[in-house]
Symmetry: C2
DNA sequence: CTGAAAGCGCTTACAG
DNA sequence: CTGAAAGCGCTTACAG
């Protein structure tokens, strides 16, 4: 039989309350007593029943998710997935609040992080912007003992965990696929991103350039087009780029706003095959994959990211370890053939 | 506040025991009482606290995993992942037994399934072999009220859930990548599989042929080489195939035994680039990806599959619904650039 | 510094 | 057919 707190108490000759104090490293236990109880825990091979503990604590986890109000499919989907998590609140003992803020706005993000801290939640998850003041705000949260998880886009060393993909690898993968799909013909390659202020896009570009330069020197990478993840702006930029460079061989869309990219591609008069790699499987990219306008889509599962963020925040709030393998967010590669 | 059984009891004017009977559809409740309680449940919006219920039941889930004793990295890893699940038994309230049987042996599998049934576990997971007698044995389990999950390789309509990838999509994906990587040069393509007795390999081949025939007619698919997932046999078969077809353009390794494939490729004297797609990221395929011998690896995460199987079996045993999106096992595509 | 008792939300014999 | 009471493995005031 699995030993319980009762067994520990009996064997160590103490009360349940004392066992509990030792188990939870609470103060007010004589060192000798603590040692005795810990020895018993070891010899009996006791493992705490977390479910029972939570029940006794009537523990609920108030969590705050700070999300940009970006109007693109990926962000809308991310909101929807957090909403799904809210629907599971009852069974997961969470109480999740969504705070929507202006996209790519570090000031708004800092303000939201500070407001969140005042509410003393069990944890905060947010889509990071790479800026010193954001790092500082995240550190203030952690200093207040509130676990912090970055979602989708990371922030170096200022968080407990990052729930998102490896974006350098994503960029490298995009380059490998694009280079191979183009083949031997030479010509420039365009890159469309949202903003260089967010780390995910910056890292994708970095990885992409690494591989293009080393493996496909006949396909020079043009200066990045910053579309702010807005379809209209993306359309303009890509249309102009295509007009200026008739021998363009491929496009890597590292951000969102692919509806605009699709419209721009339709204006192309050159019949030569253009290799296109984009991010995030949405209605737009799915259709483009089927039609053959896009060759491959790199994707991250927002549902996984949100569920992982919730699990990690709860675990961190309880001071429990995280199963790294289970929380790793994979880079999905979708071709026409393996779409879910 | 979330309503509890106490609230239901009070509002409906019955005892806790009666509420529990209604909640768990146990017999021995007057119809009128049942209706009254159910109405209260609805109006209060009660949701059962599964953790508390399990605690009260002291519920543990005895599960049986039947795995082939195949000596290849993938199967060894699968065993290891089940072992990991066993290590988590205490916290997950499971009690998992591994039954190892001879690979590709339907008789041994049927026997193991029947033995498992006699032990009356809360659920059974197994790597299926496509054969009528296996279907019958699986149905006997289900008839005995024991939930059945197929793992890695499926069995049509004879199980409650399949924890594995979509293998037709895997084959199609392999073809799309292979075809594009080869480019315009014509020549035959070889396929190495384990056995056509298991559905996963059969479906991969099916998907592969579909796309090769429709999209890459200049790359005819040679008759499948059945290596039984044994490295030595795979080496022989591939070496012979390469010798017989000097203009071979690509190889799709749909099964295991890639160590043998690697050895065979080393014997090739022709310097022309050969496109190779294999399955499962192991030490062998990882090294080959880095060296450039293999171009892409299609992969399934055995850890995910095992965790999913455990979750699903527990849920089914409790008559609970399964979150489909969470249990979907994705087809991972690894290039040199995005290996974990 | 330590312990006895009640309680978290459910289920389970047992009695009627 | 129905209910009162004890218990699952923990935690939490409260008292000493």
């Amino acid at each position: 039989m699995k030993p319980t707190v009762h067994d520990i108490a009996a064997h160590a000759g103490v009360s349940l309350a004392t066992v509990d104090r030792v188990l939870n490293r609470r103060p007010g236990v004589k060192e000798a007593t603590r040692a005795k109880v810990e020895a018993t825990i070891d010899t009996l091979g006791y493992v705490r029943d977390v479910a029972a503990a939570n029940l006794a604590k009537s523990r609920i986890y108030p969590l705050i998710f700070i999300l940009p109000d970006n109007d693109n499919s990926f962000m809308r989907n991310l909101h929807a997935e957090v909403q799904e998590a809210i629907n599971r609140s009852a069974t997961e003992r969470t109480q999740i609040q969504i705070v929507a803020i202006k996209a790519f706005d570090a000031v708004a993000l800092v303000e939201a992080l500070d407001r969140a801290r005042e509410k003393e939640p069990a944890g905060v998850a947010f889509v990071a912007i790479e800026a010193p003041e954001v790092v500082a705000a995240a550190l203030r949260l952690r200093a207040a003992g509130i676990p912090v998880v970055t979602l989708v886009s990371d922030l170096s060393d200022a968080r407990d965990h990052y729930a998102g993909i490896d974006n350098i690898a994503a960029g490298r993968t995009a380059a490998s696929l694009l280079g191979r799909f183009v083949g031997v013909r030479a010509g420039p390659v365009a890159v469309l991103a949202g903003s260089m202020l967010v780390r995910d896009h910056k890292e994708r570009l970095e990885g992409f350039k690494q591989v293009m330069e080393s493996d496909f020197p006949h396909l020079p990478v043009m200066p990045v087009l910053e579309g702010r993840d807005e379809p209209d702006r993306a359309e303009e930029l890509v249309t102009a780029a295509i007009a200026a460079h008739p021998y363009i061989r491929g496009i890597y869309s590292a951000g969102a706003g692919n509806r605009g990219l699709m419209r721009a591609l339709k204006t192309r008069t050159d019949s030569a095959r253009l290799a296109v790699i984009a991010h995030e499987l949405t209605e737009t990219t799915r259709r483009a994959l089927i039609e053959g306008t896009i060759d491959a889509v790199l994707h991250q599962d927002a549902g996984h990211e949100v569920r992982s963020a919730v699990r990690v925040l709860k675990a961190k709030a309880d001071g429990l370890p995280v199963i790294a393998a289970q929380e790793r967010i994979r880079l999905d590669i979708f071709l026409r053939d393996n779409m879910p």
